[in-house]
């Protein structure tokens, strides 16, 4: 009854093109922002902030990036963890060794990742579908190899770079709350940017390519340019996410964190969350990163008497079961579920 287009009179073009034409959506978003910026940092415990929210936000960002590439432009990549690694290593080097200011280092990491992504996106001009997906694994393995073998990168015998303390203009970022705000600000900024990107010309080009690239080319969408831009933008997001999670959570860039399984996890996030939606990236990241923790804690309490190795294995069973269950219930992801709820709300309480 309250959630509807009816009665929303669009008087200007600007209003017609607004991101959220329906007032309730705008309010909802406002509430979410207040929640994220004000309520959570002041009420949540350090445990929640530093080990639930931080990784959740960082992986959401990475998933968002992958969603541009896979969900919008239709190019499947299972090498995204490697781009995160490029971002992580290069931002740590920029910040730690060359003293570039922190925000610039973080985005600089993104830019290096974006360059790497563009190079590994070149095969997409010829290859499609699963063939492309498996080819992007080349990126995963080559980047891992380069980062471990290039001595200069890690700068020592341990093959890892420790994250230095973070300062922004002389102001130290050390507590979970400060780190939370740093990550949240970057995330908000890039989400707004990304949302507008996919609403604009570029996003439409990508969608056209996803739906049918031959047709898109015929109507004048340059495949070469748009596919590579998709790879660049997407790996930029991955790189920023990688550098954020290393600075705030892992505290050391170690190639083992950015392994193949993370790539699969990222892909899982966008499929479960909903491909081709910004919101879905957040849902999916929540599902893939937080669910195992919740399953773990739940099983810990309800299966206390069960031998612990069986309990550990039940985690995998429950997780796998939920993935399958979810795909059966809603193959197009959690974002579609949300869409369905919204459709229902338009008619509520008089659905006939």
């Amino acid at each position: 009854m309250f959630y509807r287009e009816c009665g929303v009179l669009k008087e200007t073009y600007a209003k017609d093109m607004a991101i959220f034409p329906i007032p309730l959506d705008r309010w909802g978003l406002g509430v979410m922002l207040v929640l994220a910026f004000v309520v959570i940092p002041f009420t949540a415990s350090d445990y929640w902030l530093s080990s639930i929210m931080l990784p959740f936000y960082c992986f959401s960002l990475a998933a968002l990036g992958l969603n541009f590439l896979t969900g919008y432009a239709g190019q499947v990549s299972i090498g995204h963890a490697a781009f995160m690694a490029v971002g992580a290593y290069s931002s740590l080097i920029l910040y730690g060794r060359y003293g570039v200011p922190l925000p610039l280092s973080i985005f600089g990491g993104g830019i290096f990742a974006s360059a790497a992504g563009t190079i590994f996106g070149i095969p997409s001009l010829r290859i499609k579908g699963f063939y492309l997906a498996v080819s992007t694994l080349a990126a995963q393995f080559i980047i891992e190899w380069v980062l471990t073998h290039w001595q200069w990168v890690s700068g020592g015998v341990f093959g890892t770079i420790d994250a230095p303390d973070m300062y922004i203009f002389g102001w130290i970022i050390d507590t979970p709350v400060k780190k939370y705000y740093l990550v949240l600000c970057v995330l908000t900024l890039l989400t707004v940017f990304g949302k507008n990107l996919v609403r604009g010309q570029l996003g439409r080009n990508w969608t056209a390519i996803r739906d049918m690239d031959v047709a898109a080319e015929i109507i004048g969408v340059s495949l070469f340019r748009n596919k590579l831009i998709a790879f660049a933008v997407s790996s930029f997001y991955a790189g920023v996410a990688g550098s954020l999670i290393t600075f705030t959570y892992y505290l050391a860039a170690n190639i083992e964190e950015f392994n193949l399984f993370l790539s699969f996890h990222l892909l899982g996030m966008i499929i479960i969350g909903g491909m081709g939606t910004v919101l879905g990236s957040f849902f999916g990241a929540g599902f893939m990163t937080l669910l195992p923790i919740f399953i773990n804690q739940t099983l810990l309490t309800i299966m206390e008497r069960v031998p612990s190795d069986i309990r550990a294995n039940s985690e995998a069973i429950v997780f796998g079961g939920l993935i399958v269950f979810f795909l059966i219930v809603e193959p197009y992801g959690m974002a579609r579920l949300w869409q369905t709820i919204k459709e229902k709300m338009r008619l509520w309480p008089f659905p006939y």
Binding site: F158, N254, E256, F294, T301, P307, N313, V329
Partner: protein
């Protein structure tokens, strides 16, 4: 059907979250029985390295179970909680954050998690013990006050390995002209010892060539052909982890390379690593830092009291295996640190700082080891403010086809190694802007 399923799903989500919340509340209530020293156990019972995680975690728990039956350490009982990391750093950090308010000492049990916990432990005053893994230079207590590599680290181990090879060949002078192949898994953990071995090679005049095995290392045919047929190595150092420890044994046997010319890292020296290789593993040497088997009074006690009452944490067949024994060792170190701290600060539940003092002033003498009931199981340990390594011996064991047999005890080249540890730690301190503490001023 669709709608029903959706509702079904929401019902499940609700149920799960309800259970989760109520479980949390219940767990909070339950923990109120008497003062206990809490240990959070970052374990991995699943995933590619499950053998290591489950063995160590269970040995540790079995030991604590025994002590609790006997009334605890000076009357303070243990309590603990497992947290499954699946060898994943993100999960491991989450586990640490979840349990950190209750615990004062953590064994990360993974290289990645160690790196993530070093800055955290230092800031939040939690002792991080990486026994035989993690950064070797963390043995320098001046730069890493909160990190312990007790009893020994990879660099010491490798210097001991070279001494062992020398001894097997009949004297250190025989090392000259020897060809050693360093077969390592191509991740930071594996690469760590490359410079060390190069330096040792220069010192003793042997050649060393490095053969990386790409993760996950299930296929090493190319490396082995190269090692055996082209490089014609005399000795192979097997520095792998998990399944990649097993593969070399079979490949070597296949090419006729003798098993007793392969020398493994201590993470490649468990029953789980050699059993799948079958007879191919016979003669294979590995390093270790504790005894093997069940023939120790303390372990017999655990078998009688804990497993006799069906309170064990792992299947009985694995009691006395390398990883399980390593768990007991871990627990003993913790307990000795607690006892040391009790002497200074009084018998109570220890805080992080007190526990750290205990770890730093460990002095487990041979008499004490006998008293614990572990004679021949471990070498004496003495830590200090500067020396967070403490052990002076690396054990070597050989697989005789059915079980591990201890064959040698070798002291690492302490001066050689410590010069490097100091240099590397100083570099770390400079990068991180840490002023190393002056150990002459610490009591």
């Amino acid at each position: 059907m669709g709608r029903k399923l959706i509702f079904g799903f929401f019902a499940i989500v609700l149920a799960v979250s309800f259970v989760f919340i109520s479980g949390q509340a219940m767990a909070a209530e339950k923990k109120k029985a008497g003062p206990t020293q809490f240990f959070g156990i970052l374990i991995y019972r699943t995933g590619p390295f499950a053998a290591g995680g489950s063995g160590i975690g269970s040995g540790w728990e079995d030991f604590m179970e025994l002590r609790n039956m006997q009334g605890g350490v000076n009357g303070i009982k243990y309590s603990w909680e497992e947290c499954e990391t699946a060898y994943n750093t993100a999960r491991g950090v989450e586990c640490y954050e979840r349990l950190k308010d209750k615990m004062v000492l953590v064994h990360p049990l993974s290289t990645g998690i160690t790196y993530a916990l070093i800055p955290r432990g230092t800031k939040e005053h939690k002792v991080v013990v990486s026994s035989g893994y993690g950064r070797a230079d963390a043995s320098d207590g001046c730069v890493f006050p909160w990190v312990f590599t007790t009893p020994t680290n990879y660099w010491s181990q490798n210097s001991a390995k070279i001494k062992f090879i020398g001894k097997q060949m009949g004297g250190m002078d025989k090392l000259k002209g020897l060809k050693i192949a360093n077969l390592y898994i191509d991740i930071p953990y594996g690469q760590e010892t490359k410079p060390m071995l190069d330096a040792l090679g220069k010192k003793f005049g042997f050649t060393v060539r490095h053969f990386p095995v790409p993760w996950p290392g299930i296929d090493q045919k190319a490396q082995w052909l190269d090692i055996v047929r082209r490089y014609k190595a005399d000795w192979v150092i097997n520095r792998n982890w998990g399944v990649s420890c097993t593969v070399p044994l079979k490949e070597a046997a296949r090419l006729g390379f003798p098993g007793n010319r392969i020398l493994g890292v201590w993470w490649c020296g468990s029953e789980e690593d050699v059993l799948p290789a079958g007879p191919a593993a016979k003669g294979y040497y590995t390093a270790n830092w504790h005894g093997v088997g069940r023939n120790f009074p303390l372990i017999q006690e655990i078998i009688d009291k804990v497993y006799g009452k069906m309170k064990g944490h792992i299947s009985f067949t694995r009691v006395g295996t390398v990883y399980w024994n390593r768990g007991v060792y871990t627990a003993v170190i913790n307990e000795e640190a607690m006892r040391t701290a009790h002497k200074k600060f009084g018998v109570k539940v220890l805080t992080g700082d007190e526990m750290r003092w205990g770890m730093e002033n460990l002095n487990i003498t041979a008499e004490r080891i006998k008293e614990i009931g572990l004679e021949g199981f471990m070498a004496p340990i003495k830590t200090s403010c500067e020396n967070h390594e403490g052990g002076k011996t690396v054990l070597f064991q050989q697989w005789d086809g059915n079980k591990w047999v201890k064959v040698d005890e070798i002291a690492p080249m302490t001066d050689f190694v410590w010069k490097r540890i100091k240099a590397s730690a100083a570099k770390y301190a400079k990068e991180k802007g840490i002023t190393p503490r002056d150990c002459s001023k610490v009591d």
